[in-house]
Amino acid sequence: MKVLTVNFLTCAVKTCKTSPEAFPLHFRDAELAQQDLEFNPEFIKNMLLRLDWNAFRVTTSELGFSTIPAEKPEGDALNDETLLRDLHKVLLETQVMEGKLVCGHCAHEYAIKEGIANFLLPNHLV
């Protein structure tokens, strides 16, 4: 799964959805892989507009990326192709292949296998 994806995910348990602790979900034991994808600067710029930057910083620090700017790039910074390529690499090309996503509110763990996260809940949590 892409790093970008996690910015649009929260816990599937109903009582967690309104809790700030459930977003973002936290990676545990993540195994990463790199997948080459076509670089589309407009797409990255559009996604930057939509990104929750604080959540993105939490996610990337959990995955071991140390070069993410503290502030969301805006204005002229968006014309910096090196920056956009870096973000493309992190947001789209970095795949979490195995591991878990953990809710910070209820502590439920969602498994990621072969790059796909499974959010089906056990009966007692539905």
Partner: protein
């Protein structure tokens, strides 16, 4: 099926919807490659950079329509999700449409195509529409009061909107021949041809049509004989398998009613090739 309670419905759908899709995934996928025009138009009309969800994405055939938006697609079937995950730049995950793992009120658009009709009680169908509506950015449209006192909403083009698509009861020209007045809860056969019992082998495209979804006379009379069918049966030749999926066929006006019960407003709706569809927005909070 209105008497069915929630947990019975879950077990029922597990056996007669989810299990079946898992079994027929690759054959199903090989027959599902052409997007329906209404869905295509909806997705192509989105602004670049819009972010949305595809709830019950199946093999992800709608993920190929517009690469300038970002779609988080989900399905209960692991086998179908795997196929859907191949479409860039989008994302695919395994999730239940009544427990979606997304923050509420944050998406520009949603689609749920040929999904809601698999839920086996009226309450769960309304709940499924509600789950989709909740994800949408709230409708910020001004309420307009007309001289006669009725309130109408005129949604802004930037409001989150969803496209819902369900199978219609009224399809007398289809090979199934269902029409007005017939039973709405039906078991629909799916036949996979397979060599030596390996049902997961994809077929060649030219043979991959729902060729054997013939109408069952007992079903058209209204008896859902689920108990006698364990979801699959082998023919004597052992070369094909028949799976039965549960459907609730929508009659005219029923989708609009469900949307209204779910707290949504229909801004456009219609009939396309044996299906009812509606483009909907969330009602403003009172």
């Amino acid at each position: 099926m209105s008497s069915r309670d929630g947990s019975t419905a879950v077990t029922y759908e597990d056996e007669h919807v989810h299990h079946v899709y898992e079994q027929i995934a690759s054959h199903f996928s090989s027959t599902r490659y052409k997007p329906w025009p209404i869905v295509e138009r909806f997705l192509q009309g989105l602004p670049d950079g819009a972010v949305g969800v595809d709830v019950g994405c199946g093999n992800g055939k709608y993920l190929t329509v517009n690469p300038k938006v970002f779609i988080l697609a989900s399905d209960r079937s692991q086998a179908l999700t795997k196929i859907a995950a191949q479409h860039q730049p989008h994302a695919a995950l395994i999730a239940d449409n009544l427990s979606l793992p997304h923050p509420p009120s944050s998406f520009d658009f949603a689609i749920s195509i040929a999904v809601i009709h698999h839920l086996s009680t009226p309450a769960r169908r309304v709940e499924a529409i509600k789950s989709v509506l909740e994800l949408l950015k709230p409708n910020r449209a001004l309420k307009q009061e007309s001289p006669n006192g009725s309130v109408s909403q005129s949604p802004d083009s930037s409001d989150g909107r969803a496209l819902i698509y369900v199978w219609a009861l009224e399809q007398k020209n289809s090979r199934r021949g269902w029409d007005e007045g017939m039973a709405q809860d039906v078991m629909v056969p799916w036949v996979t041809k397979s060599s030596r019992g390996t049902s997961s082998k994809p077929l060649k495209r030219n043979s991959a049509v729902e060729h054997s979804e013939t109408r069952q006379s007992d079903l058209s009379k209204g008896s859902v004989t689920a108990q006698s069918r364990k979801g699959e049966s082998l023919t004597p030749s052992d070369s094909s398998q028949t799976f039965y999926r549960y459907y609730h066929l929508y009659r005219a006006g029923e989708l609009e009613q469900d949307v209204s019960d779910a707290g949504g407003t229909v801004i456009e709706s219609g009939y396309e090739k044996d299906n009812w569809w509606a483009i909907i927005v969330r009602n403003s909070e009172p």
